[in-house]
C-alpha cells in the first residue's frame, strides 16, 4: 500500500479503521483507509446508492451523505426553498465536520447540473450557505448547462434561477455542456475504432477513462463524459497538489482570471484526449498540444473564443514541458487571438512537473472570454419563451418562499451580465488610445 502524502491529503482523509469503524485521522505514513473530503447530496437515493455499492463504496462515509426519497421534480424552487430550509442545519453540521478535518481549507468545489431541481436549486442553496459559513474559502463551481434540446421542459427556468446565485456567490464557474463532452467521447471512439496501422491508443490515457479501467466500450455513456470533467478538476488542482517550477494555486486562478467580480465564467479546454502508444514526442508534438487547446474540439462548452474577446487566459501545463516551450507557443498563438485593450499580454501560466497518468504532458487552458455571451443569450431567450406564456410557473410559485420577484430578479441578473459582456465586446477592434500617464513636475 502507498504512502499518504500532501497530494493525497488535498482530497482525502486517511482514517484509522483498524479497530473497526472510524478511528482518528492519520496524518502521515501509510495509507490505511482513504475517505473523500466530500458531501454527497441528492433528494433521490438511486445515484448515491449505486455509488455506495460500487468500487468506491469505502471512500465515501455514510455520515457524508444527505439524501431524501422523492426528488425535486426538476423544480428549482423545490430544491432551493423547500429542501434548502428543511436540510439547512443538517448540511451545515456536516460541512463543519468535514472542514474540521482539514488543517487548511482553501477551496470548495461544487459539482452540479443547472437544468434540474436538486443540483440546481439545492446546489445553489448550498453555495449561499458556504458563503455565509465559510466566507474566506474559495467557491469553485462546475456546472453542467442544459442544451437547447434538453428533455426537461423547465430547464431554462431552473438554469436562470441558478445563474443568479452563481453570479452573486461563486468565485469561479466552469460551465460544461453535455454536447461538448459527447463530441469528445465520439472523437475518441472514432480514433480507437479507426484501426489505423501503427497507432494503438494507450487505454489508460483516455481522458474519458479512469486510469486502470480496461473497458474499451463504456457501459454508460455518462461515465465517459463524467470522466472528462473529473480530469478537468484533476488538472485544475495538479499544481496545487504536486511540485513544479512555476506553481499555480487555486486562489491564483481566481485572482488572475476574474477582473471584475461577476465576470467569472471560464471556458475550459483539455488536451490531449488520448496518447498514441508508439509515438515518441518530438517538440512539434508538444506544440500541437498547445494548438489543440485552442481548438473548439477540446473545449468543454460550445463557444467560439477565437472570434470573441479574451479578458484573461491561463495555461496549466503538466509534465516535461519547460518555460521556453511555453513562451514559444504563447508567441505563436497570440497573434490569432483578440485580447481586451487593458490586458494585451496577460497570460497566467503554471508548470507542474507531474503529468497525468498515461501521458508525458498535458495542458488545461482556462479562458475568461466574451464567447460565453451567446450561450447566455440563448438561455435568456429560452427562458423568455416560457415566461411570457407563464408556462409551468404555478409549479414554482406554489412553493413556500417562492415569488414572482424571484423570476424577475433572476432574469434581470442575467440581462445585466449579458450587458457587461456587451460593453466589453464593444471595445473589440476599436482604435486603441491608451489612457494618458501621470505627469510629474520635475
Amino acid at each position: 500500500k502507498g504512502i499518504y502524502d500532501e497530494a493525497l491529503s488535498s482530497f482525502f482523509r486517511n482514517v484509522d479503521t483498524r479497530s473497526g469503524g472510524d478511528g482518528p485521522d492519520i496524518y502521515k505514513g501509510k495509507i490505511c483507509s482513504l475517505k473523500a473530503r466530500a458531501l454527497l447530496i441528492d433528494m433521490e437515493e438511486g445515484v448515491v446508492n449505486e455509488i455506495l455499492q460500487g468500487p468506491l463504496r469505502d471512500v465515501f462515509d455514510s455520515k457524508q451523505l444527505i439524501t431524501d426519497v422523492s426528488g425535486s421534480g426538476n423544480n428549482w424552487a423545490v430544491g432551493h426553498k423547500l429542501y434548502g430550509s428543511q436540510y439547512r442545519e443538517n448540511i451545515v453540521e456536516k460541512l463543519r465536520k468535514a472542514a474540521e478535518h482539514c488543517d487548511c481549507l482553501q477551496c470548495f468545489f461544487i459539482i452540479h447540473s443547472m437544468g434540474g431541481g436538486t443540483g440546481s436549486g439545492l446546489g445553489t442553496f448550498v453555495l449561499n450557505l458556504l458563503e455565509d459559513e465559510f466566507p474566506e474559502v474559495y467557491r469553485f463551481v462546475t456546472s453542467v448547462y442544459p442544451s437547447g434540446e434538453d428533455d426537461v421542459i423547465t430547464s431554462p427556468y431552473n438554469t436562470v434561477l441558478a445563474m443568479k446565485e452563481l453570479n452573486e456567490h461563486a468565485d469561479c464557474v466552469l460551465p460544461i455542456e453535455n454536447e461538448s463532452l459527447f463530441d469528445i467521447v465520439n472523437k475518441i471512439h472514432q480514433m480507437i475504432n479507426s484501426g489505423k496501422l501503427g497507432s494503438t491508443v494507450k487505454q489508460n490515457s483516455l481522458v474519458t477513462s479512469s486510469a486502470g479501467s480496461a473497458k474499451t466500450v463504456q457501459e454508460k455513456p455518462f461515465d465517459a463524459m463524467n470522466n472528462i470533467v473529473a480530469n478537468l478538476l484533476l488538472n485544475l488542482t495538479s499544481s496545487a497538489r504536486f511540485e513544479g517550477s512555476l506553481n499555480m494555486d487555486l486562489n491564483e486562478i481566481s485572482m488572475n482570471l476574474v477582473p471584475f467580480p461577476r465576470l467569472h465564467y471560464l471556458v475550459s479546454s483539455l488536451t490531449p484526449l488520448y496518447t498514441l502508444a508508439d509515438v515518441n514526442v518530438p517538440s512539434r508534438r508538444l506544440d500541437q498540444m498547445f494548438s489543440d487547446a485552442f481548438s473548439r474540439e477540446h473545449q468543454l462548452i460550445q463557444a467560439d473564443p477565437k472570434h470573441s474577446l479574451y479578458l484573461a487566459c491561463a495555461l496549466l501545463v503538466r509534465g516535461n514541458v519547460q518555460v521556453s516551450d511555453l513562451r514559444r507557443n504563447i508567441e505563436r498563438l497570440k497573434p490569432s487571438l483578440h485580447f481586451v485593450s487593458w490586458n494585451q499580454e496577460g497570460w497566467k501560466t503554471g508548470l507542474c512537473s507531474v503529468p497525468p497518468v498515461g501521458h508525458s504532458h498535458s495542458l488545461l487552458s482556462l479562458a475568461n472570454n466574451t464567447c460565453v455571451k451567446p450561450t447566455f443569450i440563448e438561455l435568456k431567450d429560452r427562458f423568455m419563451k416560457l415566461y411570457k406564456k407563464k408556462a409551468h410557473l404555478h409549479h414554482y410559485l406554489h412553493v413556500d418562499g417562492m415569488e414572482q420577484s424571484c423570476f424577475s430578479e433572476a432574469i434581470s441578473s442575467l440581462s445585466d451580465l449579458i450587458e457587461e459582456y456587451n460593453e466589453l465586446d464593444a471595445t473589440k477592434g476599436g482604435p486603441r488610445t491608451d489612457p494618458s500617464r501621470l505627469k510629474i513636475a520635475v
Binding site: 500532501e6 488543517d103 487548511c104 482553501q106 504536486f242 511540485e243 517550477s245 512555476l246 506553481n247 494555486d249 486562489n251 491564483e252 481566481s254 485572482m255 488572475n256 482570471l257 476574474v258 477582473p259 471584475f260 467580480p261 517538440s283 479578458l311 484573461a312 519547460q322 518555460v323 521556453s324 516551450d325 513562451r327 504563447i330 508567441e331 497570440k334 485593450s341 487593458w342 490586458n343 494585451q344 499580454e345 496577460g346 497570460w347 497566467k348 501560466t349 508548470l351 491608451d434 489612457p435 500617464r437 501621470l438 505627469k439 510629474i440 520635475v442
Partner: protein, 351 residues
C-alpha cells in the same frame, strides 16, 4: 563579514538555492591561476560570508527561507541537503499552507503583519550568528504575491529593525508576455515600496536571461532551472570576494557595502565615480577569467516605463482592483505607487 540572505516566495527560494550552490561549487572548484595561499584566503572569506561552519557536517547557509505555501521550501531544503556539500539550517524557514494567490495586497497587508514576528525572529537569529554582519540580501520576484508583497513588507521590517545595515534587494523582472496577469500591478506596488526601504535594487529580467540561455548558451529546451542557474552564476560572480581599488591583501570588502557607493544606485551621481573595478586573481566557477558588470544606467528605463504603462492601462479600466481592495490596498495606494515610479522614470529620463 557575513551576509544574511532572505529567500522570499517560489522564485526567491528557487534562485537562492542556485546561488548557494554556485558559491559552494566555486569554493570547491579549481582556483585557476592564483596561488594556493591566495585560494585559501579566498575560500575562507567566501565561506564566512555566506555560510556558517557548524561543528559537525557541512557548511550551513546563512539564510532564512520564507514562503506562504510549503512545496517549494520543502524541495529546496531537501535538494540542498542531498548535495552533500552544504545545507540550510532546518529551523531557518517559515511557511504557511495557502500561498498568497499572486495578490500583492494579500502578501503585504495580510501575511506581512500576521507573520512579522516569526519571520523577524528567524532573521534576528541568523544575524546573531554572524561575527560581523555586512547586511541583508533579499531575493524575490516582483510579479507574484509572496515575494513581491510579503517581500516588500519584510524589507520594511528589516529597515526598521536594522536601520544602519545595508539592504540589497534582488528583484526578478517577469517575462513581458506574462507569467501572471496582474504582474504589472504587483511590480508597481513592489518597486514603489522597495524604493523607500531598500539601499539598492539589483535587477534580473527573465526575458534577458532567457535570451542568454537561447543565444549565448544554446540551450534547446530552457527550463526555469536553467534561467535560475544563469542568474545565480551572475550573482555569485558579483559577490565573490575581491580586492578593492586600493589594493591590499585582505578580502575584506563588503560586497553589499560597495553597492553603497553613491554612484551605484538611485540617487544622483558624479560621473567620475560611476565606474568601479574590482579584481581578483582567483577563478570563478570554472571560468579562469571572468568579468561581471553591475551598472546603474538607463538600461532599466524602458522596461520600467513598459511595466508602469501596462499597469496604468489596466488601472484605468479598474480591472482586478476589487481583488486588491479585498485585502486592504485601495485605489489611493495604487496612485501613490504610480506617482512614485513616474518620478523615478522622469529622473532617469532627464539624465
Amino acid at each position: 563579514m557575513s551576509i544574511v540572505t532572505v529567500q522570499l516566495g517560489q522564485c526567491g527560494n528557487q534562485i537562492g538555492h542556485e546561488v548557494f550552490n554556485a558559491i559552494c561549487s566555486d569554493v570547491h572548484g579549481t582556483h585557476g591561476l592564483c596561488s594556493k595561499k591566495e585560494n585559501e584566503s579566498y575560500c575562507d572569506a567566501c565561506k564566512e560570508r555566506f555560510f556558517c561552519e557548524e561543528e559537525s557536517e557541512v557548511p550551513v547557509a546563512r539564510a532564512v527561507l520564507v514562503d506562504m505555501e510549503p512545496k517549494v521550501i520543502s524541495q529546496t531544503l531537501s535538494m540542498a541537503a542531498r548535495s552533500g556539500y552544504w545545507k540550510y539550517d532546518d529551523r531557518s524557514h517559515f511557511c504557511q499552507k495557502q500561498g498568497s494567490g499572486n495578490n500583492w495586497a494579500n502578501g503585504y497587508s495580510v501575511h506581512g503583519p500576521r507573520h512579522k514576528e516569526v519571520i523577524m525572529n528567524l532573521v534576528q537569529k541568523e544575524a546573531e550568528k554572524c561575527d560581523r554582519l555586512g547586511g541583508f540580501f533579499t531575493i524575490m520576484s516582483m510579479a507574484g504575491g509572496t515575494g513581491s508583497g510579503l517581500g516588500a513588507y519584510v524589507t520594511q521590517c528589516l529597515r526598521d529593525a536594522f536601520p544602519t545595515s545595508f539592504i540589497l534587494n534582488h528583484v526578478i523582472w517577469p517575462y513581458g508576455t506574462g507569467e501572471i496577469i496582474v504582474q504589472n500591478y504587483n511590480s508597481v506596488l513592489t518597486l514603489s515600496h522597495l524604493y523607500q526601504s531598500s539601499d539598492a535594487l539589483l535587477v534580473h529580467e527573465n526575458d534577458v536571461i532567457h535570451k542568454i540561455c537561447a543565444q549565448l548558451m544554446n540551450i534547446k529546451q530552457i527550463s526555469f532551472r536553467d534561467v535560475n542557474q544563469v542568474i545565480a552564476h551572475q550573482l555569485g560572480s558579483v559577490f565573490q570576494p575581491t580586492y578593492t581599488a586600493e589594493g591590499g591583501l585582505h578580502y575584506s570588502r563588503n560586497p553589499l557595502g560597495s553597492f553603497r557607493d553613491p554612484s551605484l544606485y538611485t540617487s544622483w551621481l558624479n560621473p567620475q565615480d560611476a565606474f568601479n573595478v574590482w579584481k581578483t586573481p582567483r577563478a570563478f566557477n570554472k571560468y579562469e577569467k571572468s568579468a561581471s558588470l553591475v551598472s546603474n544606467s538607463q538600461f532599466l528605463l524602458k522596461p520600467l516605463d513598459n511595466v508602469v504603462g501596462k499597469a496604468w492601462n489596466m488601472f484605468a479600466s479598474k480591472a482586478y482592483i476589487h481583488q486588491y481592495t479585498k485585502f486592504g490596498i485601495e485605489e489611493e495606494d495604487f496612485l501613490d505607487s504610480f506617482t512614485a515610479l513616474e518620478q523615478v522614470i522622469s529622473s532617469y529620463t532627464i539624465l
